[in-house]
């Protein structure tokens, strides 16, 4: 498709465009279902069975079960939808965002208090900022888990 997608060269970032939306349609609609308390309860009681009610790909289901939000995003998830999984788990938006960096909760929180992540080196893929692929995972949480 000959539409310009200038946002493809931003490191550590997936823009939720029509293509992602098509890919992630059922994953995101599953997330949306978690807005209802009765669905949250059913999901928590038996995650796999609940996921199997949705025509998601096996990979999408695995990504959800692993609570790996980067993986969810690669399969078409959008962060505002994925946040419903976090709410179900009782996680704050800061915990969810931090989980995608490989940092511990404290590391991420401290980074934010100290002014947040710098844009320097993080504007284009190929620079040397901390969000670049070759610097992942960034924190000690990711290093212990192997991310």
């Amino acid at each position: 498709m000959a539409l310009e997608k200038p946002y493809k060269d931003v490191p550590g970032t997936i823009i939720f465009d029509a293509e992602q939306s098509r890919k992630g349609y059922w994953l995101n609609q599953f997330c949306m279902s978690l807005m209802k308390p009765e669905n949250r309860a059913r999901f928590k009681a038996e995650e796999r069975a609940y996921l199997d009610e949705w025509p998601m790909t096996e990979e999408q289901k695995q990504a959800v079960l692993a609570r790996d939000l980067n993986w969810c995003m690669r399969t078409g998830g959008n962060i505002y939808f994925l946040a419903k999984i976090g709410s179900t788990d009782g996680k704050s938006f800061q915990q969810m965002a931090g989980s995608m960096t490989g940092m511990t909760e404290e590391e991420y929180r401290d980074m934010m208090i100290n002014g947040g992540r710098s844009a320097e080196g993080n504007r284009y893929i190929g620079e040397d900022g901390d969000a670049q692929p070759h610097h992942q995972p960034q924190g000690s949480a990711g290093k212990t888990q192997g991310a």
Partner: protein
């Protein structure tokens, strides 16, 4: 004749709502955020609007992927406060202004903006956090917001979101629409969302203090130039969710100077990092 006399700009971070609702406003972390709104709270008391036209975005709350309106205007009599996963925020329901909203819808569609008209829409933190910041805490049952609100939801979730230019031109159209409403009403227009933040991926937590402040300078002093900033600049410089800032241009386009009138006066400006993942920006412009 109705007229737009002022515009208010503010971030609408959900954690601010949580801090308010959970009584954390006096923790040092949050104190620094709320202090920035002391001026605005007094100002809005002294300059009470009859109606607020509130531009925000829905965060996968009222709209799923089943239906994504680029621009949705609420013409209902009232709006329930959405349950975003932790139960609805404990704030009063939002009363609409069906007459003015319908009038604006009609006028703006005839100016070639292809609005979606909505009569049933739970409103999320994008709309209620700005109200809480400017009007303070309100008992959800015993109290009410001081005036009706017209919710105007912009798609900034699925790309392509409307361009800054489109938003700025829409603001001009809204100004014309309001001016043709016969009743004498003092209308404020609020632009919400932003400033720099990214909620996703290894680049989560990006904040760009310099860019935010330069952009805000431009919004205030040279909105035409600000309207020309392309999407990719927001993403690259202000994070993937920084794109929400295009909504501020709708409010800015509705000020008198965009239609050749007098420049507005900057009554207040505030910038702070962080609130949760986000840089908080806030400004008040008034036409005197």
């Amino acid at each position: 004749m109705a007229r737009i006399t002022a515009s208010v700009y503010t971030s609408h971070v959900p954690a601010i709502g949580a801090a308010l609702d959970l009584g954390k406003t006096h923790e040092p972390y949050w104190q620094k955020v709320f202090a920035g709104y002391d001026y605005g709270k007094q100002w809005v008391k002294d300059n009470r609007p009859d109606v607020i036209f509130l531009v925000y975005n829905d965060h996968a709350t009222a709209f799923s992927l089943n239906l994504i309106p680029t621009f949705a205007i609420g013409t209902a009599a009232e709006y329930e406060v959405a349950d975003e996963g932790f139960g609805p925020r404990p704030v009063p329901k939002v009363m609409g202004h069906p007459e003015l909203a319908s009038h604006i819808a009609q006028s703006v569609i005839q100016q070639d903006f292809d609005l979606t008209i909505v009569n049933k829409m739970p409103v999320d933190h994008g709309l209620t956090v700005p109200l809480s910041l400017m009007f303070g805490q309100k008992d959800p049952v015993k109290e009410a917001w001081p005036c009706p609100v017209i919710p105007f939801a912009v798609n900034v979730v699925q790309y392509p979101v409307p361009s800054g230019r489109r938003c700025y031109e829409l603001g001009k159209a809204i100004r014309r629409a309001v001016a043709s409403f016969d009743e004498d009403l003092n209308v404020h227009i609020w632009g919400t969302g932003g400033m720099s933040h990214q909620l996703q991926g290894p680049r989560a937590g990006l904040i760009n203090r310099e860019w935010d402040n330069a952009w805000l300078d431009k919004l205030i002093n040279d909105p035409e130039a600000c309207a020309s900033v392309p999407h990719i600049d927001y993403v690259r410089e202000a994070g993937s969710e920084g794109i929400e800032l295009v909504m501020w241009l709708i409010a800015r386009g509705a000020m008198a100077d965009a239609a050749g009138g007098p420049k507005p006066v900057l009554k207040h400006r505030f910038y702070h990092v962080p609130a949760s993942n986000t840089a908080v920006g806030h400004a008040i412009l008034e036409t005197v």
